[in-house]
């Protein structure tokens, strides 16, 4: 088997034993990128030179046994909204074309000090706004399982890369499902940690109160290893929480007998694809057979309001977060403009894509004087109700299990002209972001046409340990992880 096909966990063992070197592994991944990424389109920027230099120093570290971690020498790709010093970071937006951050995001510093090899920056929906990666200003990313279908979004590059083995593991970000939904579409593991668990410093904001960086990997064990490196308090992020980080990897195999699992009725309603429903319910059956206590009648009564609530709050925050892209300091500036106001207008009109503009306008409206109470404040109140729904359920349940997305991956162009249909694609993931909870998507089977489907597991705040434990146990029962699509190269 080619090195790029192994899991992070297995590669760590091989590196540990000295059977392979980080340079060999990195070369293998870089060759894989050359071989298939013109077909998949997962990367916006590949830093081959930088990756090899980091791989060499990882090998030195391993030889000297100097602070070796499970990530030392592992090629990791980053969603292109995570700031990397000196390496172009665009958020897949024309407005940030050519922008090279002067600093590393905290997660990047943590990866570097763990000895990870950063391969490059991955495609996404512009500013993480979208559910198909079709909103990238630069390129399309194909679903490695079906090249005519979207990889999901907004972290579509991150999940496609893991599925196509153009990276061993990647980081994505999840604001309303942006890790879990594309992980489900691409048949990989994608996790959104509790809000505050991973530092947002250097993550280019879409919606600050919802954004969270998380791991995208081939297996649950890989996710546990990667999360262990990036999680933890950061003094540079006031919203990061100062709680101890458990050894997630060590606790993966904990017994789940007697564990209480709830299935929310509202997540199995109209619009749910029947194949998806069957796969999710049979996954629950397997968990029950393994000794978990499944309650199929729990209720999250405010679920219906989540999408509306989310699109008010997320867009309100975005309208303000994206104000800094004004052509004054960095990135794109329109040419031949007439004075300051015109420079602002032209820069933003030409620099942002349609979906971004749509959300800026929505958010600006929600915050406008006279509308604030009816929209923004009301949405905050609804957010509290949604959070309480979960609190009540978690009084009796240890985890909630549900589908990730009502459907498997859809075709290119299918929803791009119907924003509302696209927004509804996140209906089962958004409530988790509003409540700030940790959740994961684990592969739970394939549709008859061969499209992967993910199982969503949701846990209490900061219970990543339980979440990963249940996910790992299910992964062993289901056996759907580690499958690789056969990528048919595009005819050149």
């Amino acid at each position: 088997m080619e090195l790029y096909n192994y899991s992070l966990e297995n590669l760590g063992e091989l590196l540990d034993k000295g059977e392979i070197s980080a340079v060999e592994l990195t070369r293998s991944v870089l060759e894989r990128i050359s071989a298939v990424d013109d077909t998949i389109g997962s990367y916006l920027t590949v830093d081959a030179e930088g990756a090899l230099i980091q791989a060499e120093s990882a090998d030195v570290r391993r030889r000297k046994r100097d602070n070796v971690t499970p990530l030392t020498g592992i090629p990791v790709g980053l969603k292109d909204l995570i700031s990397t010093a000196g390496l172009q970071t665009t958020c897949a937006s024309k407005i940030l074309a050519g922008y090279r951050p002067e600093y590393d995001a905290t997660v990047v510093s943590r990866l570097r000090s763990a000895g990870a090899v950063i391969t490059g920056k991955l495609n996404m929906d512009e500013f993480a706004m979208g559910s198909s990666t079709e909103n990238s200003a630069f390129q399309k990313t194909c679903n490695p399982w079906a090249l005519d279908r979207v990889p999901g979004g907004s972290s579509g590059g991150s999940t496609a890369a893991v599925a196509a083995a153009t990276a061993i593991a990647t980081l994505g970000s999840d604001t309303g499902g942006s890790i879990r939904q594309p992980a489900s579409f691409c048949g990989v593991v994608g996790m959104k940690p509790t809000y505050g668990r991973v530092s947002r410093y250097g993550l280019i904001a879409f919606a600050s109160s919802l954004d969270q960086i998380g791991p995208v990997t081939l297996t649950v064990a890989d996710a546990a290893l990667l999360l262990g490196v990036i999680a933890g308090h950061d003094a540079c992020d006031s919203t990061s929480v100062d709680l101890p980080v458990a050894d997630y990897y060590k606790r993966l195999k904990n017994d789940i007998r007697g564990l209480k699992i709830g299935l929310p009725q509202e997540y199995f309603g109209a619009g749910l694809d029947s194949e998806v429903e069957v796969l999710v319910r049979s996954a629950c059956g397997q968990l029950a057979a393994a000794g978990a206590l499944v309650n199929e009648a729990i209720s999250l009564p405010h679920t219906d309001y989540a999408v509306a609530c989310y699109y008010l709050l997320a867009t309100a925050e975005a309208s303000s977060n994206l104000a800094r892209y004004d052509g004054v300091k960095y990135g794109f500036r329109a040419e031949n403009t007439d004075g300051l106001l015109d420079m602002y207008r032209q820069t933003r009109a030409q620099g942002f894509g349609d979906e971004v503009k749509r959300r800026i306008m929505l958010g600006t409206y929600a915050l406008s004087s006279g509308y604030y109470d009816a929209y923004y404040r009301k949405a905050q109140q609804v957010r509290t109700l949604i959070t309480r729904d979960f609190e009540k359920v978690f009084a009796d349940c240890d985890v909630i299990v549900a589908p990730v997305c009502p459907t498997p991956a859809f075709a290119f162009g299918e929803k791009v002209d119907d924003p509302l249909a696209m927004y509804l694609s996140d209906i089962l993931t958004i409530p988790v972001n509003l409540a700030g909870l940790p959740a994961i998507s684990v592969p739970c089977g394939f549709t008859k046409s061969g499209l992967p489907v993910g199982l969503q597991i949701i846990a209490r705040p900061f219970a990543e340990e339980t979440l990963l434990n249940v996910a790992w146990q299910y992964e062993q029962l289901g056996g759907w992880s580690r499958r690789r699509p056969e990528i048919k190269k595009k005819a050149v």
Binding site: L81, I82, S83, T89, C91, L96, Y99, P101, E102, Y103, A105, R200, Y201, G202, L203, I204, A205, A207, S208, S209, A235, C236, D237, S238, T239, A316, E317, S319, S320, L322, A323, R324, Y325, D326, V328, K329, Y330, L340, Y344, T364, L367, S368, S369, Y372, Y376
Partner: protein, 477 residues
């Protein structure tokens, strides 16, 4: 006049913290452009603010000094607008939940005391500064050194009724903020600045008139001029049956007029909302008490203490405490040489005269408290007379020489206190002026001064005047 003037003031104080409000950059003034910057204060994508808790301390300090209640749950809000000096496209400020509310400040105008309400005090970050170089037209640069420097904005109730009251309020407020070491109070450099809301209404009218907001007044004098101008402008409009337009006006110092900057319809909708990057700041009793314990003494308290502890006159205490630095100077001298009355006298009569002539502040004075104390010790010991002391003082001041003893020695200014020497001199003078002695003894008591003067002249002013008096009296009764 037919109208009552209604004035409310918004004062911005730049806080004297060492670092900025949301990052670790220095607040030092005068560094190279953009030297005091980092990803946070230049609004780089992904950078996040972290609150400097010193700023909260300072805001509480200002609130306690103006009898405000301290709001226990503080929320930072984003004020959204576009301008190149605003790196994030929004200013982090406070909106619905400011840190201090409902205080007051007492002022006095023409012996009449008045209480001015304080609506609120809130914390916020400053913006950068645009630089328009002369050598290149149509190009501007931005200096972000000032971006993210902490400010408090103090908003008064519309309680002032004249420009004199407004200036009294501002002066008082500035004194307090300087005393609290919250702000350096420098209006020219903009670390203490003020906007004024002005409206007129017919006497007895229950509702406020339409107001104009005045900006860009960088001295007390300009505040007064700008308000007087605005009152006249509005009363002209009203007299002619017109309606005042709600607008923001910019004071032009050179032309002595104000001009409209933007009208109500162009007013920004700032779309305030709670900043999701910052958690609410919860201020408990412990925090407030700690600030209260370390609260610097305010002018009024200091004045009273000077009168009680040092036994100086209230009027002197008022002058000495009018400036925090002057008060500190006075106390520094007292510490070395505990004769407060004499020290107060010297500061009031001599030191301030020199400083006023040169228009410099006490902090720029070349005579150190130590130097002044040494000089006063020499006078006290009788080494020199008070009169010579003034000469030495002038010398110390102009040469920045703080060794009065050395000046006295090198210039031979020490006082003649040798009784034998003085007696010889007096005897000679009395003998040479026998006629005048006779006149004196015949009752022309004024003559006494003549003899003293002669002795002082002969001794080049160095004779100990007290001894001279006594010795002459001894001789001619």
């Amino acid at each position: 006049m037919d109208y009552e003037i209604v004035i409310g003031l918004e004062v911005h104080c730049q806080l004297l913290t060492e670092t900025k409000i949301f990052c670790g950059c220095s607040t030092n003034f005068g560094n190279l452009p953009n030297q005091n910057t980092c990803p946070v204060c230049t609004g780089m994508p992904g950078a996040l603010p972290v609150l400097n808790r010193k700023v909260v301390d300072f805001a509480i300090r200002a609130g306690l000094a103006t009898d405000c209640s301290i709001v226990r749950e503080n929320v930072f809000a984003r004020k959204n607008y576009f301008y190149p000096d605003l790196p994030k496209g929004y200013q982090i400020s406070q909106f619905e939940l400011p840190i201090c509310v409902g205080g007051y400040l007492d002022i006095e105008v023409e012996d009449e005391k008045k209480r001015i309400g304080i609506t609120r005090i809130h914390m916020e970050e400053d913006a950068g500064k645009l630089v328009h170089p002369e050598y290149e037209h149509g190009v501007s640069f931005v200096d972000y050194n000032r971006a993210c420097v902490p400010l408090i904005e103090i908003v008064s109730d519309p309680d002032m009724r004249s420009s004199a009251e407004a200036v009294a309020y501002l002066k008082n407020m500035r004194d307090i903020m300087v005393y609290l070491e919250v702000c350096d109070g420098n209006m020219e450099e903009g670390s203490f600045r003020c906007d004024a809301n002005i409206s007129l209404r017919r006497w007895g009218a229950p509702e406020l008139g339409i107001r104009a907001e005045l900006k860009n007044m960088n001295s007390f004098r300009n505040v007064q001029r700008a308000i007087d101008y605005e009152v006249e402008r509005q009363s002209d409009i009203l007299d002619n049956g017109g309606v005042v337009v709600q607008e923001t006006r910019l004071w032009n110092v050179d032309r002595g007029i104000s001009m409209s900057m933007r009208g109500k319809e162009e007013a920004h909708d700032y779309r305030y909302f709670p900043d999701p990057d910052l958690l609410p700041v919860v201020i408990d009793d412990f925090w407030v008490d700690e600030v209260r314990r370390n609260q610097p003494e305010l002018p009024l308290a200091k004045r009273q203490r000077f009168v009680v502890d040092y036994g100086i006159l209230l009027t002197d205490a008022e002058v000495l405490t009018s400036d925090r630095n002057l008060a500190d100077y006075f106390e520094a001298v007292v510490k070395i040489f505990p004769r407060p009355k004499a020290i107060a006298n010297w500061i009031m009569v001599e030191l301030l005269k020199f400083l006023n002539d040169d228009k410099i502040a006490i902090t720029q004075c070349s005579i150190t408290p130590q130097g002044l104390a040494e000089l006063l010790k020499l006078i006290d010991k009788g080494t020199i007379s008070g009169k010579i002391g003034k000469q030495v003082f002038a010398q110390m001041y102009s040469a920045a020489d703080n060794d009065p003893e050395l000046i006295v020695t090198t210039k031979g200014l020490a006082q003649m206190s040798d009784a034998g020497e003085l007696t010889g001199m007096i005897d000679e003078i009395l003998a040479a002026n026998a006629d005048k002695v006779k006149e004196y003894q015949d009752g022309k008591s004024k003559m006494f001064g003549f003899f003293v003067g002669q002795v002082m002249k002969r001794s080049k002013g160095q004779a100990n005047p007290q001894m001279v008096n006594e010795l002459i009296k001894e001789r001619i009764g």
